[in-house]
């Protein structure tokens, strides 16, 4: 440890000095204060002891330049903020530069202050090394005193002497704790199975009438609206059917090629759920992925795979939409479809399996 200080160092914990001594410098008083805090300033050295050197002037000029740069950038920020055309227009234009210029000027202003202050601290302030003692252990005496104080307080309370008191406190306060939590928990609790909502979607027949499949703009769908190898997203033709209120209802209606449709139909027959759910070469599956609920919507028309972009589950459309890759473990529910009297697609019934991500009590 060096002792290369300018003035003789007092060891920390040494004898206190007389603060009224007129020969004391201000630094001596500082050092005394440090000593009181168990700090010893072992090295204190101004970087520019001789005033007015060229080096000092250079550093000072640099710091001043940085502060002035800050001021200029801040002024530029204000000017741009007030006068630059900022209203958004679709085409390219000066408004696209509004945010970047604001960011640039604000950034330069802040960096200017930052670098200015830091350069001041690093280059102009004296360098020092101080050592502070930690004193991070309690004395055994203090522990004994507090320990005994607490034990005595416990004795004073007299719970040991009067066990009935302690028991009744516990028995009485426990329900109070629950009372505090009850409104929040009780208010929040919401029965997930009311109206059997987890097992029904918007395609449930209304008053016995099957629900039409409609496009996003509400118009019903005919078979020749979809080309072979095409797919369309359909919704239940009920009020608010095309909205997040029926977030479990969006369905993918696919027009398969003849050979693929035969395969799909044969596999449908093998499955006890999906027999007869297709209409012609048209097949409808829930768009809501059974893994985590994203819309599984990347239909590859040649491989008949439906890819979900969130976690890359892949479902084989020609085999009851069973998952063939990725983390999904349950096939997509199929919607039974047919045509109504006017030739539009309707859902024969609601989905016969739960739609969307899996849950504990899913039958």
């Amino acid at each position: 440890m060096s002792t290369h200080a300018d003035t003789p160092a007092d060891k920390a914990g040494g004898s206190p000095i007389d603060l009224d001594d007129p020969s004391l410098t201000r630094f001596d008083i500082v050092r005394e204060g440090a000593r009181l805090d168990d700090i010893e300033i072992v090295h204190y050295e101004p970087q520019f002891p001789v005033a007015g050197t060229k080096a000092e002037r250079r550093v000072t000029r640099f710091v001043s330049f940085l502060f002035l740069l800050t001021g200029a950038a801040a002024t530029a920020f204000l000017a741009i903020y007030i006068w630059w055309p900022w209203e958004y227009k679709l085409a390219a234009g000066p408004d696209k530069l509004y945010t970047p210029l604001l960011g640039l000027t604000l950034g330069v202003a802040l960096l200017g202050i930052g670098f200015g202050i830091l350069t001041w601290a690093k280059k102009l302030l004296p360098k020092e090394i101080s050592i502070q003692a930690r004193h991070d252990t309690s004395t055994p005496e203090s522990r004994k005193i507090v320990g005994n104080t607490m034990l005595y307080m416990a004795d004073e309370l007299g719970v040991k002497r009067r066990p009935l008191l302690g028991a009744s406190v516990l028995a009485g306060l426990l329900p109070v704790g629950a009372v505090a939590a009850a409104p929040l928990v009780g208010g929040l609790i919401n029965n997930p199975h009311k109206n059997n909502q987890m097992m029904t979607t918007g395609f449930q027949p209304v008053d016995g009438k099957p629900v039409r499949l409609v496009r996003e703009d509400g118009t019903p769908v005919r078979p020749d609206d979809i080309s072979t190898g095409g797919q369309i997203t359909v919704f239940p033709g009920i009020p608010h059917g095309v909205s997040n209120k029926h977030a479990d209802s969006p369905t993918l209606l696919i027009h398969l090629r003849e050979s693929d449709a035969e395969k799909a139909r044969a596999n449908n027959e093998r499955n006890e759920h999906n027999r007869g759910y297709m209409w012609g070469n048209y097949i409808a599956y829930s768009k809501i992925c059974t893994h985590a609920g994203c819309p599984a919507s990347l239909y590859e028309q040649q491989t008949n795979l439906l890819l979900c972009p969130c976690h890359q589950s892949q479902f084989l459309i020609t085999d009851n939409a069973k998952p063939v890759f990725g983390p999904a473990s349950r096939r997509l529910p199929q919607l039974p479809i047919e045509l109504d009297a006017e030739g539009f697609f309707v859902a024969k019934s609601d989905y016969t399996e739960a739609v969307g991500p899996d849950f504990w009590e899913r039958p």
């Binding site: 090295h43 802040l110 090394i129 050592i131 997040n244 893994h291 994203c294 473990s329 849950f359």
Partner: protein
């Protein structure tokens, strides 16, 4: 009338006396002004998090004045033409308004989001520093726990925050969050419908997340950060071993003026970097995602980077569902394990680590000195393993972007992740362990044999040998003290006091030390050159 003379110069003293009469601040203030802080660049990483948090608060207040946290349906009629006439929620519409119709709104939004990403990034970097240097050991285990909690509370803050605009990307994330809650056995469907107020998405989730994001979570963050900083203050910061440093002292500089100025300047730098990023780099362009609709999704959907590791674990999980054939049949879907169980294990492991390590090393002493990573090869290797695990999962979270950009099959990326998550961490452990041992060995070798000078000498019998500069003056063995062993001649001052500058060495006169802690180098009265004639 007699004018009262006001002595301007005495005003500060009088004011200070008035304050001290009432509050007795003089001694506490002195303690604060004199407090000694150690000086190392890696101790500043946590402050990046602190300062980004302050920026988050400032920009966040602005945003709360314009954001409408409601799911009521409106028809957009603002400046962004491609969405005019579209049905959307008030939350989304107000976010668009901030971006396009409030002067300077977009840069505030972007600064807020960049600050959030930087907050989480700096927490991770800071946590790694604390881990690899052993600063979490007794007496700082509780601070480590608070810090780990800060990561997860920050995670919550970020998630609720970016879900507020109700745009296509974050709405999809919210859908996945509801599916995650659904997957919890027994209570899953109740938890989901209680939080959402019904079936997804319900009418109330944005309002609830808003209150969580602007009141409950920031309150918790402020409390935790205050506790965290308070503990650092009370326990004093750790320090590296070195000249004059012991387990019972702190060597550094006093708080005022130098250290405080450095803090203030650094705050400005962090703020400046956030401002530059907020203006120059676009983030979260919600107008391109469109409003959240349950039937719309974009390719390349990812959450923010600090959530991406959970997205990755979800993508990698094989489709293993557990069916319990009692009654109607119950099922634990495969989503439960990577999104509920895995984070639970990670939280538990990270919270318990200080005690686990103390138990394993049987080291129950208080430590105020840090350890070089190479000196604890097991901990360092474990840390490397954890980092590798995290990286594989995070990269997998973006595996469709990587697949598309680099023309790799998507299925192959999934398999690479599944195999990588099992193989890469143990490999990282082994490599890191061996590297640590090698570095330790080299330290002791230099201590024993001296620094290589690069000067080759030929002995009379024809052998060549390199001259080594011994580090000890006597013949005794030097013990390794836990600090950096000089390995180059210029570090010894043998080639003139080359004080390292930042980008190039700066030669300075011999008296001045470079930084606190580095002892000043005195020029020896006779400087003997090291040449091929000397031993």
């Amino acid at each position: 009338m007699k004018r009262r003379k006001v002595d301007v110069r005495a005003v500060p003293a009088k004011a200070a006396n008035a304050v001290d009469d009432r509050f007795q601040v003089s001694t506490p203030l002195r303690r604060l002004l004199n407090k000694v802080f150690p000086d190392h660049w890696s101790f500043l990483l946590g402050e990046i998090a602190l300062f980004s948090f302050i920026v988050l608060l400032l920009t966040g207040v602005f945003l709360t004045f314009f954001f409408e946290p409601a799911l009521t349906e409106v028809i957009y009629n603002g400046s962004y033409a491609p969405l005019r006439g579209t049905h959307m929620t008030a939350a989304y519409a107000s976010t668009l308004e901030i971006s396009f119709d409030v002067r300077g709104g977009l840069i505030m939004r972007q600064m807020h989001h960049w600050a959030a990403l930087l907050f989480m990034a700096s927490i991770v970097v800071h946590m790694l520093r604390v881990f690899f240097t052993g600063a979490f050991r007794k007496p700082r285990e509780v601070n480590w726990v608070i810090g780990s909690l800060l990561f997860w509370v920050g995670f919550l803050a970020g998630f609720t925050g970016y879900s507020l605009p109700d745009d296509g990307l974050s709405g999809t994330g919210l859908r996945i969050a509801s599916a995650i809650m659904l997957s919890i056995p027994v209570i899953g469907s109740w938890v989901t419908s209680s939080i959402f107020g019904g079936e997804f998405p319900g009418d109330i989730i944005i309002s609830r997340m808003f209150i969580a994001h602007v009141l409950l979570v920031p309150g918790l963050l402020v409390a935790l950060i205050s506790a965290h900083l308070g503990l650092v203050f009370k326990q004093k910061h750790t320090q590296w071993p070195g000249p004059g440093r012991t387990n019972d002292n702190v060597v550094g500089e006093r708080m005022f003026p130098r250290y405080a100025l450095k803090q203030g300047g650094f705050f400005m730098l962090v703020f400046g970097v956030i401002a530059l990023m907020g203006g120059l780099m676009q983030i979260n362009p919600v107008w391109l995602f469109g409003p959240y609709e349950a039937w719309v999704v974009s390719a390349a959907s990812q959450p923010d980077w600090y959530v991406m590791f959970l997205d990755g674990s979800t993508r990698l999980m094989p489709a293993w569902e557990i069916v319990i054939p009692i009654g109607d049949g119950y099922v634990i879907p495969p989503l439960f394990w990577p999104t509920v169980v895995l984070p639970g294990i990670l939280v538990g492991l990270s919270l318990a680590y200080p005690w686990l390590e103390a138990r394993q090393t049987k080291d129950y002493r208080s430590h105020n000195l840090l350890q070089r990573p190479r000196d604890t090869p097991v901990r360092t290797a474990l840390g490397a393993m954890a980092v590798t695990f995290f990286m594989v999962l995070t990269l997998t979270g973006a595996n469709d972007v990587i697949a598309e950009k680099f023309f790799i099959s998507l299925n192959a990326m999934t398999w690479a992740g599944r195999i990588g998550i099992l193989l890469a961490p143990p490999l990282a452990y082994y490599l890191t362990y061996r590297i640590c041992l090698g570095l330790q060995q080299h330290d002791r070798e230099v201590l024993a044999h001296g620094v290589e000078t690069g000067i080759i000498r030929r002995l009379p019998d024809g052998r060549f040998e390199e001259v080594h500069q011994p580090l000890s003056s006597g013949h005794g063995e030097l013990e390794y003290t836990g600090w950096v062993v000089p390995k180059k001649m210029n570090r010894l001052g043998a080639l003139g006091p080359a004080i390292k500058g930042f980008f190039y060495p700066i030669e300075k006169p011999v008296e001045a030390p470079v930084s606190p802690g580095h002892p000043p180098v005195e020029e020896r009265p006779e400087r003997s050159e090291i040449s091929s004639d000397n031993r």
